[in-house]
Amino acid sequence: MFEGIASGLATALTPLNLLMVFVGCFAGTFIGMLPGLGPISAIALMIPITYGFDPASALILMAGVYYGAIFGGSTSSILINAPGVAGTVATSFDGYPLAQKGQAGKALAIAAYSSFSGGTIAAVFLLVAAPALARVALSFQSSDYFALMVLGLTAVSAFASRGEVAKALLMTVVGLMLSTVGTDLSAGVQRFTFGRIDLIDGISFLLLAMATFALSEALMNVLKRDDVGEKAQAATRGGMGSLKLSSKEVGEIVPTIGRSSVLGFIIGVLPGAGATIASFLAYGMERAVSSEKRQKEFGKGSLRGLAAPETANNAACTGSFVPLLTLGIPGSGTTAVMLGALLSYGVQPGPRLYTEQPAVFWSVIVSMYLGNIILLILNLPLIPYIARLLSVPKPFLIPMILFFSLIGVYLVSFNTFDIQLMVVFAVAAIVLRLFGFPMAPMILGFILGKPMEDNLRRALTISDGSFSFLWERPLTLVIMVATVLVLATPLIRGILRPRVSAAGEGG
């Protein structure tokens, strides 16, 4: 393991790769700050730019973008009460009140220190958990993989907010449907291509991700008449206040960071749960364990209330890499896009990655950690300036986002049909968003569609067409039982919720 870490460090610490982390953090922070544009869009926007790079450098840039985007999301939550992503909603509960009190600098510093600590502690857990799981995963068969993918897909939906479970499940199915477009790999038959050569290879993952996230989010911004620039100008006009924390304040948040890191990592490893659930759970847990006096500060600018979701959010992001790297199964929309990026560099995540390409495996982990460090020492002092970039007026910002999204996909295929297809998907995504359908389950379904079909085909062929493989192999059975339990969670929540609400649930 130590050899692996050393080789990962040697790769990541070259001057070029350090520059990549810095550029990634900076670009990610800026994109992540734009309300609506989160890590998924930030990573998707960066994929075409990194095609010409060496895989390790590209991955290092991605790690920087990922952490930068999460931190950027926290920044917009704190400064303008407009979370870039769902994972930073809980950050705004206490971050925004702090900024309103003229302590935006302090709030941003706490967010950065908490994110750094959460990421660091989780990276240590990852160092231990990922190789262990990778070794176990080597014994997995097609039926286990199929069951795991079903678990991942249902978990994303089951953890959706109340009343949204069926919508998330439906979007997962739509994503799976889109993944069937193109040539069927086993029989060589064309499916849903309507005779078009452009569709023979299927729909590009990047095209779908850009259209349904970057393009549709930018267009939704216009449709809903949101003006990010004005809010950002207002937030930065009066200055940020000091970035320094007193030793008493540090002492106050240290236990919170410890608790939330462990919770965040565990939640992150679970397929489908991810950063949003982790941040809300950590916020709730922190409030529950606080004294009555401190509880009253929550929602009004509590330092613990800010540190808890920020720590858990980052720890969960690191945790979500465990299933991705060891099983090749993304547990969230963001890791699904990361999987797409990894595949485009010719890196196939899964249990064999650890044994066959240890340098890549470890450089991903090490670069994630480097991203955290760069974010802390370079990005934090730059935040006031990056926030000013946000005040670029909407008439200029939106067409540029549209241009970079379109050209990003075009530069990969050099096919103008892809631009037209993107427009169609972007319009469809806007309509679906207006109807309240979530996009992340769709992208997850799309990316898992092909491997899921492949594993189902193999499992069914081995079992002679019988679905008995679902219960004959103990491991498959355990995973399927877990799937059923996960699917039952919303039902149980639905039964329990009215009582909890009656008891006065808040936040």
């Binding site: 739509v174 449907m177 530069l411 085909r457």
Partner: protein
């Protein structure tokens, strides 16, 4: 009609369309007797899609609350959004004949204009340097080919 009824209804129509095309997926002779064919997953997904759409429709009809479609579309900036969508489609059509540089400059200027910028100098200064810098980065530094366009051919160059 409620928003939560019409949305799943539209997806239901999509699922029926998908299912209809799934039935037309070609198969080799004898393949229909195999355990898994190219139609298996699409047909399974059709069934699941119809099931979840119907659950959502029934849920919304039973609840009978939430915003109506009229409330959903009211107050939104449809004009500008539609103009940007048309611009993107036109950009896709014009990038080959006009070339990357000209098509992108026109796309950005039109985009800035649609979103409210009217000063001609600002429009030009915001679009041209950005596009030229991007073009130089791609073609001169990264060595990526970008469409030169067919305009020079038309003028006999």
């Amino acid at each position: 009609m409620r928003r939560d009824t019409l949305g799943p209804l539209l997806v239901l129509v999509f699922c029926f369309g998908y299912g209809a095309f799934a039935l037309q997926i070609g198969m080799f002779p004898g393949q229909e007797n195999e355990a898994f064919t190219p139609r298996t997953l699409p047909l399974g997904l059709t069934a699941l899609g119809i099931l979840f759409s119907l659950i959502l429709i029934v849920q919304s009809l039973r609840a009978d609350d939430g915003p109506t479609v009229g409330e959903m579309v009211r107050g939104l900036d449809w004009g500008r959004t539609a103009a940007l969508v048309v611009l993107m489609a036109l950009y896709g059509l014009l990038i080959s004949p006009l070339g990357f540089l000209l098509a992108t400059i026109l796309f950005l200027i039109a985009g800035f204009f649609v979103l409210g910028e009217r000063r001609p100098m600002v429009l030009l200064l915001a679009a041209i340097p950005l596009v030229v810098a991007f073009w130089a980065l791609m073609t001169r530094i990264l060595g990526i080919y970008l469409e030169p366009g067919r305009l020079p051919e038309l003028f006999g160059v």
